[in-house]
Amino acid sequence: MGEIFVVAEHRQGALREITLEMLYKANELSQALSHTLTAIMIGAGDEAFVDDLTKRADRVIAVEDERLRNFDADLQNDILHRLIEEYRPFLTLMGHTAWGMDLAPSLSIKSGLPLATDCVDIRVEEGRPIVIRQIYSGKLFSRVAFKESEGYLITVRPGAFPPDEIGERNGELVRKEIPSDLPEARKQFVEFLDAGAGEIDIGQADLLVSIGRGIGEQENIEEIKELAELMGGVISCSRPVVDKNWLPKYHQVGTSGKSVKPKVYLALGISGAFQHVAGISGAGTVIAVNKDSKAPIFRVADYGVVDDLFKISEALKEKLKT
């Protein structure tokens, strides 16, 4: 019987949603393959959610030490490498998050196991894993196989799977001693900073008028601000607008910004990268305007308009003024 590892991601004492999403898929795979599902919990030892993990996995391996309270790629890499040597898992799943992106590639080199990142689906065909990924910012999908290996590493895109329901498994909790020769940390955690705090909370708005790369120039933002004001809505945006410093970070919708839940989300010139779309899953109705008929935003929007956003904005303003 083989083994599937899920590396739990947690922050400030709480489990991250991606962990439950990975457990959902791992559960499905472990049942189909009759593999043992093992959650790996590397932390300080006082995290309250460890018991919760045992209900969702056959086994929870907990490696605990105060040095492991906050994520450190070097320490996690070292510990996971040892666990992989000991248990030889067929698959090891990690989140495709900032931390997972720091950990998985280094673990791949250290362990010699091949890695596929940012996967939206995982299958096992004739004993070998196949992953589905998006390329060119979601315009195309690719089906990827691995060079034959004893085990495989995969990072999973946040939001690709639903969160695991609380399971009926009654997993065994295995507490492991921290290795005595754990390497010295080369990174010293200082603090968490709320970079998204600001004077407006876009999370509370009923109507968001949101702009993306299609806005083109900074001067054009005024025009959309006027529109938002006329509509009684709040202006928000996707990442490229904040990257260019055209709007403050607290206007940003998406995984690295805010998740929003307006009644209506009017997306103007937003292509719909997954990081953005993940932030609007709570929106009631999404109306997207984009020149590119192939823009991924049209796959998630309720209503779509293939046109120049400025023409539509002008027409909206005219209607609202009369």
Binding site: R16, F71, A73, D74, T97, A98, W99, M101, D102, A104, P105, S106, S108, I109, K110, P114, A116, R133, I135, S137, K139, L140, F141, S142, V144, A145, F146, K147, R186, K187, Q188, F189, V190, E191, F192, L193, D194, A195, D206, G233, R239, V242, K244, S256, K263, V264, L266, I287, D292, K294, F298, R299, A301, Y303, G304, D307, A315, L316, E318, K319
Partner: protein, 259 residues
């Protein structure tokens, strides 16, 4: 501070219809325009800002054919001091082989910092940088949106999900993968690129680096590229802007928002 920055040339695919090629494992590239990968552009700018503040040198490296030199010339025009292109010839390089190749060239060089972009805009892997760090035995951090060197280390900001940054101190030498928005990349003129033509640009052949066949064997294989599966998708509103605007206003009101 001596900095190495890794760059890649990628096709521009926004507002472009991509066509799957005959092999079904890639896209037709003959009609596409190419640019420097957006994340790498921020990484080059960050390297140059640090050099301007602290002195030292910036070396830009890419793995690619002679057309890919365009991104090196651009980096030189932005302020890099020298550039290296590693020509892969006909080899199929995946992220692993790419990281191994870069490591082989970088390992003999002097540096305090290696910068890459978080990911490339074409394959969206996000793994070459951190794999390279592991080959070189460097401390590393991914998705960095702030770097402040001090003493033998640097204070860095890592952009986490949910609008939270993690601040930490990292020992140098280190490798950081740079997130967009960390700075405002400078404008590059044709004139600037012409002027930079005098700077050193060295070309190495991948096959002459002495890597073993195992090092050069891709670890992942793209079996097929395909169009996104059909979903219900959006209900399209057609017509001239005025008709469309009326429809949008009606829908918004129907959803309980008063205008």
């Amino acid at each position: 501070m001596d900095i190495i920055v890794c760059v890649k040339r990628v096709p521009l695919t926004q507002e472009v219809d991509l066509e799957i090629d005959e092999s079904k494992r890639g896209v037709r590239k003959d009609m596409l325009a190419y640019v420097i990968n957006e994340w790498d552009n921020y990484a080059v700018e960050e390297a140059i800002l640090l050099k301007e503040k602290l002195g030292g040198t910036v070396t830009a490296i890419t793995v690619g054919n002679d057309e890919d030199e365009e991104v090196l010339r651009r980096s030189l025009a932005m302020g890099a001091d020298r550039a290296i292109r590693i020509d892969p010839g006909d080899r199929d390089v995946d992220s692993f082989v790419l990281s191994k190749t870069l490591a082989e060239v970088i390992k003999g060089m002097d540096y305090d910092l290696v910068l890459t972009g978080v990911q490339a805009d074409d394959d969206n892997h996000g793994m070459v940088g951190i794999m390279l760090a592991e080959h070189l035995g460097l401390a590393h951090a991914a998705v960095v949106n702030g770097v402040e060197p001090e003493g033998d280390g640097a204070t860095i900001n890592v952009e986490l999900e949910g609008g939270i940054d993690a601040i930490s101190k990292i020992k140098l030498p280190a490798l950081l993968t740079i997130q967009t928005g960390i700075n405002e990349p400078r404008y590059v003129s044709i004139m600037g690129i012409r002027k930079a033509a005098k700077k050193e640009l060295k070309v190495l052949q991948l096959d002459e680096l002495g890597l073993s066949e195992d090092d050069l064997a891709p670890r992942t294989i793209i079996e097929e590229v395909f169009l996104p599966p059909e979903t219900e998708g959006a209900e399209m509103i057609e017509g001239d802007p005025s008709t469309v605007a009326e429809d949008i206003i009606r829908i918004i009101k129907e959803k309980g928002v008063s205008l």
